[in-house]
């Protein structure tokens, strides 16, 4: 027992100092009116739920929630479907399949700022390669990064970023599906399509649940890809980038608003906690089966 405590102690100290304390600071800032002057004078009057009410009733709040929801849902749907399609494609080995699967990891391993910069240049309205390709087909150039289209621009880049994660997890999930099931189905005359709907998808359900759950959490957190491409301006502002811009006085918020940023932060924290419980629930159910 003592040994157990001894070995876990560094982690517990770490969690308290580097998680609990900063998070406590975050919540505390959302309940006190922090301004830039606070760091000089040390004064931050207690505001209770006032700042929460102000933020939620501000004109930006609900549109930002809607944009965040769009960003998350559309990203997830495409990341998952494309990832699953590729996982099925790679399910049976063929020449070079292992090498190609390795190469598919690249977007996931690159620093996000690198990918974001590249997408920003590819989506450049005048000389970007994407508009050039569109022009070949005869369409008008799209102003990808202006305020109306920026949400779709960052969604496209984010889908690209998320495909490797989905591919790897779903691929390893597929390895758990017994080959005999497919063989039996083939003998019974089931084609590729029916095998997919009646064997692959149902057996993949537990993996799908976890993939979508983690995907949801990761997508909600995203700041850098959006920030680099559009600084969270226009329709591409999500809750996370809004908090970032208010906390550090950049992009959409020219003024530093610590308390307002912490309010959004605390809301995101609450979502993370709820998702933690959902994760627990999903795991328990899978263990019970």
């Amino acid at each position: 027992m003592l040994a157990g405590i001894g070995f876990i102690a560094p982690l517990l100290a770490y969690l308290v100092i580097f998680y609990a304390y900063p998070l406590y600071e975050n919540v505390s800032m959302s309940l006190h009116r922090f301004t830039r002057a606070t760091y000089v004078t040390g004064e931050a009057p207690y505001a209770g739920g006032d700042i929460y009410r102000e933020v939620i009733s501000s004109a930006q709040f609900w549109p930002t929630v809607l944009q965040t929801a769009t960003f998350v849902v559309v990203s997830l749907v495409f990341q998952y479907s494309i990832g699953l399609g590729l996982a099925v494609f790679f399910q049976r080995h063929f020449p070079l399949s292992v090498v190609m699967r390795g190469l598919f990891l690249v977007p996931w391993l690159l620093p996000i700022i690198v990918s974001a910069t590249t997408w920003q240049w590819m989506m450049d309205a005048d000389s970007g390669i994407i508009n050039r390709l569109i022009g070949v087909v005869g369409s008008d150039p799209v102003w990808w990064l202006n305020s109306d289209n920026s949400l779709w621009a960052v969604i496209i880049a984010n889908i690209w970023l998320g495909i490797p994660f989905n591919l790897v997890i779903l691929y390893s999930g597929l390895q758990g599906v017994p080959v005999e099931l497919y063989e039996a189905a083939a003998i019974d005359g089931a084609g590729r399509g029916r095998q997919f709907w009646h064997i692959t998808l149902p057996l993949l359900k537990p993996v799908t649940a976890v993939t979508l759950l983690l995907g949801f959490v990761y997508t909600l957190k995203v700041v850098d890809i959006i920030w680099i491409m559009t600084t969270g301006t226009g329709s591409s502002q999500t809750l996370a980038t809004w908090a970032y811009s208010m906390a550090f006085g950049k992009g959409a918020s020219a003024v530093i608003k610590y308390s307002e940023a912490s309010v959004i932060g605390s809301i995101l924290l609450l979502v993370a906690l709820v998702m933690g419980f959902v994760h627990l629930f999903v795991q328990r159910r899978q263990e019970a089966v």
């Binding site: 040994a3 876990i8 982690l11 800032m29 190609m100 391993l109 620093p111 910069t117 924290l269 993370a272």
Partner: protein, 272 residues
């Protein structure tokens, strides 16, 4: 018969998908080698080939690359020091409240970095460790520690109890058993955790841009790249050359350690 015929077809189709997926990466490399005057032509290969961007960029970014290396290695050391003993405790020793700790580790991975950054900013400005390398290392380690603990404990659970019991019969202490039996067996897990800790610290933009934004040369390469993005006349050749430099660890990881990468990615997501 049909399988023989379809295999080359699948390879061709696979090559097409891979090319499509990697096109942005190719484009980055292409632009980084294209002469400034020709970049806006959008040629599919660097027809006005030049090393000029790299010449400028390497001189500019060397201090940032050095900082990133220090931050990355520091994060690896700190992460391993905290995560390996905790993994051992959670998998092999009696720890009160073990389920709660495991739950907290999962939630910790779900907390948005922007929330952590806000809290850290407030704490750091009080302590006066804003814009320092150790401050950044501590913040970056929070990305990897929960993951590291989970990966270590998942692996160490598989170490046969008998080996450890035999060691204890021979009079080895828990510390002794940990250092001379558990750690050597867990070498691959340590490599995986270390690789990811390094990669995440190297790639971090959020903590660097908030906790270390006035650190001058003590800012990592991601901030070096961000400086170029922020400047008014965007020099895409230089930008892309810096982006390529910042991608070096990714390339090394893929070439040397691909199996560790896949092992790490599926941790916690797929049960075995």
């Amino acid at each position: 018969m049909s399988r023989l015929r379809s295999a080359p077809g699948k390879t061709l189709l696979g090559l097409f998908f891979t090319a499509l997926m990697l096109f942005p990466v190719y484009w980055m490399v292409n632009v980084s080698f294209t002469d400034r005057a020709a970049i806006r032509d959008g040629m599919l290969y660097p027809h006005s080939f030049t090393f000029d961007h790299y010449r400028v960029v390497i001189a500019d970014q060397l201090p940032h690359l050095r900082t990133s290396l220090v931050v990355g290695l520091g994060t690896v050391v700190l992460t391993l020091l905290v995560a390996a003993p905790a993994g051992y405790a959670l998998s092999k020793l009696f720890v009160p409240g073990r389920r709660v700790i495991s739950f907290l580790l999962i939630v910790a991975q779900m907390i948005p970095a922007v929330v952590m950054a806000l809290g850290f900013y407030s704490v750091y400005s009080g302590l006066g460790v804003l814009n320092t390398v150790p401050g950044l290392i501590l913040a970056d380690s929070t990305i990897a520690v929960p993951f590291g603990v989970m990966l270590f404990s998942a692996f160490m659970r598989g170490i046969p109890r008998e080996i450890l019991e035999a060691a204890h019969m021979d009079g080895a202490s828990y510390w002794r058993a940990f250092v001379s039996i558990v750690l050597p067996i867990s070498r691959n897990s340590a490599v995986t955790v270390g690789l990811f800790a390094f990669l995440w610290a190297w790639s971090d933009f959020l903590f660097a841009s908030t906790l270390n934004r006035d650190g001058g040369d003590l800012r990592p390469i991601t901030m070096g790249l961000y400086d170029y993005i922020g400047s008014q006349n965007q020099e895409w050749g230089k930008l892309m050359a810096t982006a390529v430099l910042a991608s070096i660890p990714t390339a090394i990881l893929l070439l040397l350690a691909q199996r560790f990468v896949s092992a790490g990615l599926t941790t916690g997501a797929v049960k075995d």
